[in-house]
Symmetry: C2
């Protein structure tokens, strides 16, 4: 059983961002709840406030919004060692617009908004951890925004396969297509074109 919730990756994830003593690390982690999420289970749903932020120990998640015509648009993926939630909902504690669903049976470390607030207040270094987390997520969103604005569907697809093949392998194609802002039919055609080129 213990191998399913091996917390060393989580510890390393924290220590990479901010140097904590053993005691501090223990205290920090005590604010999180390890949680098993089964495939197809939702951790965030539209119109409900995202009460928690989730660090994926292992497993896979997908965050998406549903458009007027019922189409899904993937906003975030998360696999082992990534965070996921509806940040706009979580940060402002307002109703979510996103679904976040487990794509595989997963384990997460979950922290609730109130707990996180306490944690941030408790120690300057704990606050620093969340500051760094937020800064990096701003930077990565900026990179994605730039990619979406400057590249064609085909270029985005190539870039994604190259950078995130670990994710590509674990997610359905329609999810990747909607993440890249195209239909799954078109992605399928691109992929096919690619295969024939790769002599």
């Amino acid at each position: 059983m213990s191998f399913m919730t091996d917390l060393t990756p989580f510890k390393n994830h924290i220590l990479k961002k901010v140097p904590l003593t053993e005691a501090e690390l223990t205290e920090f982690m005590s604010f999180f709840t390890p949680l098993r999420i089964k495939k197809r289970q939702f951790v965030v749903q539209p119109n409900f406030v995202a009460k928690a932020r989730n660090y994926v120990i292992h497993g896979a998640f997908r965050g998406y919004v549903v458009g007027n015509a019922g189409e899904e648009h993937t906003i975030q993926f998360a696999i082992d060692d990534w965070w996921i939630s509806d940040y706009n909902s979580y940060i402002f504690q307002q109703p979510a617009t996103m679904f976040v669903v487990a794509v595989e049976d997963s384990w997460v470390m979950q922290i609730e908004y109130e707990k996180e607030a306490q944690l941030k207040a408790l120690h300057h270094k704990y606050e620093t951890f969340f500051r760094i987390t937020a800064e990096r997520s701003t930077a990565s969103m900026q990179r994605r925004l730039i990619a979406n604005l400057t590249k064609t569907a085909e270029e985005r697809f190539d870039e994604f396969e190259e950078k995130y093949h670990l994710i590509a392998e674990r997610m359905p194609q329609y999810a990747i297509a909607s993440y890249l802002g195209m239909t799954s039919e078109y992605l399928s055609k691109l992929r096919n074109k690619r295969l024939s080129k790769k002599s």
Copy 2:
């Protein structure tokens, strides 16, 4: 002269996020340099590290990247009371991909990376300020990403005019078009269609 660098909006901006005493506020602000930036002057350029983050006292800025074919893609706007920089460059202190240019003669409060690091270390509350800033900018990027993925060019245009008409009034149309991910010709046609509809 003093009216040109009236700092009360900046003070309020800080106090809205984190409660500081008069003395703390003074200390906090002492890490910033008020700077006059003339129209068409650049504060960030590709291949140079974005050394600073800029709070706009008054004026207007535009951040954009240049694509392979020479097209400009606007990533950020900033007018009075907004922050601007190339965050991916600034946060990681790596070469920028963006230009950030003054669209009007402007005044900014500028803080350099090293100074900001000192400030964050100096006091828990100062760190909190930057944490909140980063969190909100993550949330707003998420909202923009969702808008780009879920809405048509026309819907994005409508939404922009409604939410950011203050910006729309001060920026050239081609900048807005590229922010919304369309050509300026197409934006012009949308705008025209709109005028004839508004019986």
